[in-house]
Amino acid sequence: MESENNNVILRTEGLKKYFPIRRGFLQKVTGWVKAVDGVSFNIEQGKTLGLVGESGCGKTTVARLILKLLESDSGKIIFQRIDISRFSEKQMKPYRKEIQIIFQDPFGSLNPRMTIGQSIEEGIRILGNKYATNRKQRLETLLSMVGMSPDSADRYPHEFSGGQRQRIGIARALSVEPSLIVCDEPVSALDVSIQAQIINLLKDLQDHLGLSYLFISHDLNVVGYLCDFISVMYKGHIMELASSEDIFHHPHHPYTRSLLSAIPDPDLDKKWHVKYSNDYIGELDAVSKGCKYQDRCSMAETTCRKDEMAFENVGDNHFVRCWKVAKNI
């Protein structure tokens, strides 16, 4: 990836996180789950990077590493040109408000005993003097920004519907004025009609506030609509990274292709058929050597079972982790 780009707000380099598998009475470490195994990407200022993959591929672990809710084993997290990956809690403090997260289940992330006004005000208070005199006014601005009426500030989370709670979650993330928001499946739990409202809201906020998003989802249609770049993850590796158009129109990696072919498309003119039939996903660490996708890949050869796959640029910032594909382009 291009090393110096002034527009890059967040860059990760070879991010790794292994979780130990402990067994037996003494809880000896018998193996490692390579949840995130060398993930590198850039997020540009004001742009959205999508992270897609099946459950258990390490998407959420990436989010938690970036937010420093988990300590990475190795690799760099460069936020606004400063490597924050080894920062202590104290050093992290000014950066916490720069990177915020929106969760899938907003009800689980709101305190049921606080009114939503109190919840959001907590964030405003962290900014210190900035809104010391007009905190109430700021609260109302935030609520109207996410399309809620100001009088909802005195109500409790259980009084709201799922879509409204997600709006509150977004207001809360915005209360500390972040520059990057990690969205971890923010619309997956919502109904279709509400989903569109939240997607539009996220888009509007990005346009008005110049926010950057890391958008994690398993829904390729949502990601294709919202994201500028898409990275496809599989078992802790990024298999393919390219602009949304390239991922959808010129997918190279066999995994990306199988993912795309599996989307049921309400457009009746497009033919829908499943390309492969092997649904067995082994344990995360089952494959010790070679390509992580070899078990399910229809193109797999002996080389795939031996060698590590390099993440190669196949032109126009389109990266693929598959030697066969890279060779043929």
Binding site: E54, N200, H218, Y225, A262, P264, L268
Partner: protein
């Protein structure tokens, strides 16, 4: 794919004016409020709608699984081969469940018993309705698991549910549903908890089984993408009523109800990039305090004064395509989405063409 579907015309299941209400101390939630639909032989019928629209309640009431109290089937008929299932006693109903109508639920891990092997559970499903010797029973179960695409079923039959992946658990659930060769399978969001790739396989499996065994499937889903790939006919539900019905082509190419149109327009996709997504304003009404008149009117962009007062009737667009919106039906200049072909719009009486 769509053209390859050749359902029969004989109705296997006919639900007429079904009303299921849930009574609490103060309120009465009208979860299903007078719906009628039918499932013909060898046909896949989808009921699609958002959460809380009553689609699961309708499915459960077919099998007599509505918890009473608080639930109650207030009115209506559920005719299965001409026999009203609501009037049957518990014993007769048990002969229907699993034997003639089987159900596949959304979350396989909660519907499988964790302390029995999958072999035990599949054999139980068979033994409830059939008498079989041990050896043929075992062979039959292995065959069933093989049919639903479980690799090396002789070994897997001794596994416990937690040892299987989500997709395989759902395959076991389908095997159990198939155990007694039912005439109708009700699948309630069977792929919602699964990844897209696994979902695609389960859908392909359901489709091939249906073809092989010539069964009917009543498929309940909130996912329009899934529905478009498997359905012969579609019923769109909103707040306990059916707002539109028709075959897959009619619903997805020329939706006639503002709600269906809104749902389709609000689906994100790559091709809509840069454009603002249409979103239906507001949210689904509380079933205990449904708005008067058309339940969709507070969110509707075509509403007129009469929508708030009169319950909308079904308007016939011909060839089985019905939509519950007289406003759009009467309006000549249709300002809906561009996919709508105006020349196909026909009135019930067939004497006037709307342009």
């Amino acid at each position: 794919m769509i053209d390859g579907r050749t359902p029969h015309d004989r109705p296997l299941l006919r639900v007429e004016n079904l009303k299921v209400y849930f009574q609490s101390n103060v309120t009465r939630a009208r979860a299903v409020d007078g719906i009628s639909f039918d499932v013909r032989e060898k046909e896949t019928v989808c009921i699609v709608g958002e959460s809380g629209c009553g689609k699961t309640v309708s499915a459960l009431s077919i099998l007599g699984l509505i918890p009473t109290p608080p639930g109650e089937i207030v009115d209506g008929q559920i005719l299965f081969f001409g026999q009203d299932l609501i009037k049957l006693d518990e014993k007769a109903m048990q002969n229907i469940r699993g034997n003639h109508i089987a159900m596949v639920f959304q979350e396989p891990l909660t519907s499988l018993n964790p302390v029995f092997t999958i072999g035990d559970q599949v054999t139980e499903a068979v033994r409830t309705h059939r008498h079989m010797e041990k050896e043929p029973l075992y062979r039959y179960c292995v065959q069933l698991l093989n049919d639903v695409g479980i690799p090396s079923p002789e070994q897997r039959i001794n596994d416990y549910p937690h040892q299987l992946s989500g997709g395989q658990r759902q395959r076991v659930m389908i095997a159990m549903a198939l155990a007694c060769d039912p005439d109708l399978i009700i699948a309630d969001e069977p792929t919602t908890a699964l990844d897209v790739t696994v979902q695609a396989q389960i859908l392909a499996l359901l489709r091939s089984i249906q073809k092989k065994r010539s069964m009917s499937v009543l498929y309940i889903s909130h996912d329009l993408g899934v529905v478009s790939t498997i359905a012969n006919r579609v019923y769109v539900m909103y707040a306990g009523i059916i707002v539109e019905q028709g075959n897959t082509n009619q619903i997805f190419r020329s939706a006639r109800h503002p709600y269906t149109q809104g749902l389709l327009a609000s689906l994100p996709s790559l091709s809509k990039r840069g454009k603002r997504l249409y979103s239906i304003p507001g949210s689904v009404p509380n079933l205990s305090y449904k708005p008067k008149g058309c339940p969709f009117h507070p969110r509707c962009r075509y509403k007129i004064l009469s929508c708030q007062k009169e319950y909308p009737g079904m308007c016939d667009y011909g060839e089985g395509h019905l939509a519950r919106c007289p406003v759009l039906f009467k309006s000549k200049g249709y300002e809906g989405s561009s996919e709508i072909h105006e020349n196909t719009m026909r009135c019930t009486s067939g004497n006037s063409h709307t342009k």
